[in-house]
Point group: C2
Chain length 551, copies 2
Amino acid sequence: MATTPLQVIPLGGLGEIGKNMTAMQYGNDVILIDAGIMFPENDMLGIDYIIPDFRHFSQQTNLNFRAIIVTHGHEDHTGAIAHVAGAFRAPIYATPLTRGLLEVKLRQARLLEHVDMYTFKAGDTLDLGPFKVETFHVCHSIPDGVGLGINTPVGLIVHSGDFKFDHTPVDRWPPDFAKLASFSSRGVLALLSDSTNADRAGWTPSESVIDEAFDRVFRKATGRIIVSTFASLISRIQQVAAAAQRYDRKMAIAGATMMDNIKMAINLGYLDLPSNLIITLDEAAKRPPKEVVIMATGTQGEPSAVLGRLAAGRHDRLSIQQGDTVIMSAHPIPGNEEMVHRIINRLFQRGANVIYDPIEQVHVSGHASQEEQKLLINLVRPKYFIPVHGELRHLKSHAHLAEQLGIPRENIAVVENGTMLTFDAKGTMTVGDRIPGGYVFVDGSGVGDIGPAVMRDRETLARDGVVVVNAVINSRTREVLADPEIISRGFVFLRDADDLMDSARQTIRRVLQQNPSANGNKYELVQDALGKLFYNETKRRPMIFAFINEV
Amino acid sequence: MATTPLQVIPLGGLGEIGKNMTAMQYGNDVILIDAGIMFPENDMLGIDYIIPDFRHFSQQTNLNFRAIIVTHGHEDHTGAIAHVAGAFRAPIYATPLTRGLLEVKLRQARLLEHVDMYTFKAGDTLDLGPFKVETFHVCHSIPDGVGLGINTPVGLIVHSGDFKFDHTPVDRWPPDFAKLASFSSRGVLALLSDSTNADRAGWTPSESVIDEAFDRVFRKATGRIIVSTFASLISRIQQVAAAAQRYDRKMAIAGATMMDNIKMAINLGYLDLPSNLIITLDEAAKRPPKEVVIMATGTQGEPSAVLGRLAAGRHDRLSIQQGDTVIMSAHPIPGNEEMVHRIINRLFQRGANVIYDPIEQVHVSGHASQEEQKLLINLVRPKYFIPVHGELRHLKSHAHLAEQLGIPRENIAVVENGTMLTFDAKGTMTVGDRIPGGYVFVDGSGVGDIGPAVMRDRETLARDGVVVVNAVINSRTREVLADPEIISRGFVFLRDADDLMDSARQTIRRVLQQNPSANGNKYELVQDALGKLFYNETKRRPMIFAFINEV
């Protein structure tokens, strides 16, 4: 009989809730689920990525971290593994493919030898102190994803993982409906479920519809075909391989990460490619274009990925040729639309025919739509429902669905990251306060050192640039010696701004001569006067720094 | 019989082609169609907007500018009118509503008294020297839009304007199919047609579907309803008014621009509102929430528009209440998705229920989809086809459709802005070179003064910030006097960076003492050394300025 309450806390970045990490605590025992990153939004200038704010846990010394369980191999669930493994002395649990992808990151961070990793197969049960975790297979846009049935002393918590109910997945491994039904028969205290597509009616199409779209495109293509997708989208690589075989093409791989992933997936048995299918880029260059498919990364418009370099004409071994067909087999992640469209336009400009959704359905979402979300709720019939993995608007839609299915409104918790959900010994849920913290920016080697102040300065600099002034005055006569130096960047095109800079120099002289006795605040007077001058002349407000040196 | 060739040149910003302005020249006579702006993409830091590069024309002194014809009142067709009217001494032609919207802009720019404006009604013919322009009504997401049939000495050129074929538009004014058919019977040399939705199959839904969505939302709403849409979307205001009357609600308007537009549209007869429907915001505050609809601007996530202020809790007279229903009756313009989603999330956070597409179809596109685009081509049966108003990918899709309809590939011109299309006296089209020029950024009061160099500097500043150094050395002893001053912005959080700044000061001293004879390049040595230090310590590359003053 339980005497201690269970706490469930969605962590993670901002914007999307309960996505990158979820913590469960019972007494002093804690398990962490996932260790992912968020990508910065367009106005988070200079930020590389954002990691979950797990300081609430890493700063406590009395806790026993039983496990870091990673549900699948996508960046938003694995990308922060080096930070998490560095902060917690806990073993990492993952399925074989997910483990393979995690190992690459841990090796890069020189942490691989320092962590304990355990492999499980979907369906295995993990005994983690007070937590008995029953894993179950789910379909998603990467193989070997799992959801979790977490038996705790206060009840069974089901965590969906990232899922869709695909009856015809490429790897022919449908979701583990039986396990979900068995949970239901045992009684589920709470369900945490993927909300990504909670505003989409109906069912997410099966991955198999992509085969038909590929068929149409391959049938018509008279030149090379270049298929761009995520480096981790193993099932898509399988689908391209199948289409290549149907249309007598050989397949070459551009991009080291994708090649590494393919090798790993073949070794682990997640990818089945005939040995004579894959050729090198050099071999591909020697074959007739009609006999070649090239796989490439760069679907998100990243300038440094293969597709970005092809679009810019800056790839060392490949270039777009008239007659090439480029398939964008991915959707832009929100915020990347402009970059992706720019790449598509540039590929067209270079003579390629570019196929993208909605022109052909060459990609489908990996997340459940409303009907699938409803099915999961009704399969599991939880007492409490906690929508996760989505922006607030998605959680609200998901909550609305759950209500329609008869879950009482007061049993649904739409919460933000950091909110403590407490299940008492009787299994009653209480929504608590938010733990302190927010999001943790990673910029260069700095983790969490960039806050709102630095961000605001970057915004100002980005908007109107910077002007730096160096003036020297005679400390006795207060005379300005020589011409003040003025340097500007990002403010005006200097070659056309001679008049403005002359006015600025006159302004500096005038201010310093009119205020001979001003001491500490001379630089402020100069900055203010220049700020006014520049705004009047340009309607811009650059950041201004003035040094007034007395000699 | 024509002896001179006709030239057609799509101008406009970047990205989208033949959208913001099109020029037609016959001999010395020129007409300009539209005068719109483009909005900057997310990486065009600090840029306010982009205007068409019309310098090729404005710099020629021998040309006779017969007219600036504005096809409808949207920003991407009107926003640059002050720039264009300032550069060309040409009369402006527009339908009544479009004229009303143009006048607001010209008044703000103090140009209204200096330009000649002529009003025409859809269906009127404009005699403009060698151009006889037959205007025809089209449906779009603003009333009073037109397309143009431009009779020239070498043949009839049809310009679609922004259009959709809506059989049940809100203003009950369907497109002028008869005029289009009459063009066809007379023979059309070339069609320039709106490509916005060329990658969308089927028909764009009629505006009337929105009525049904409004009905569903109004029926369920138990509190206030706040409908956000574009200030110029007069037909949507009409639809909201109708729904308000059906559900016994009064309507208040938040936002000065929308109010001005409503008054103008009522005066000109484009909006029909019963006199007792509209109430003030103060009156709305006194009524039961269930009896109120509030119209507001801010669908694109603009922080300063009404909805942005409501989301941030910064509106002086309104705030979101528990039970409010907010309808986002617009789609995000590409590039604005993140901002729009952020606003939606914040409105949910404040207790509103937010309705947006795809949750309900509360907005439809104003542009033709593939079946409508095909219909226009087959109605007009042009000899040449020139897809316009779209990114290159849209023009390519549109060209593909035209080919499917039997227009020979060599008679289709997919061109970029600035490309000269020449129709000779026999009506044969040649695709010429691009005129010099590119895009013209407007930033503050500067027009076209910001180029790639300034932009690159803003990017660097935005990414890693700036560090400014001021050191004073004794010119004889070469000794560094006092501690060098270091200021940084957007680079690191200074309060936590004492050690780094100490190292920086030591580095400056060391460099200056080790290089006593360095003269002009002392500052470079300091900048290089600091650059290395900062990169090693932070993996960031701020812009560094160093002043070394000798006393």
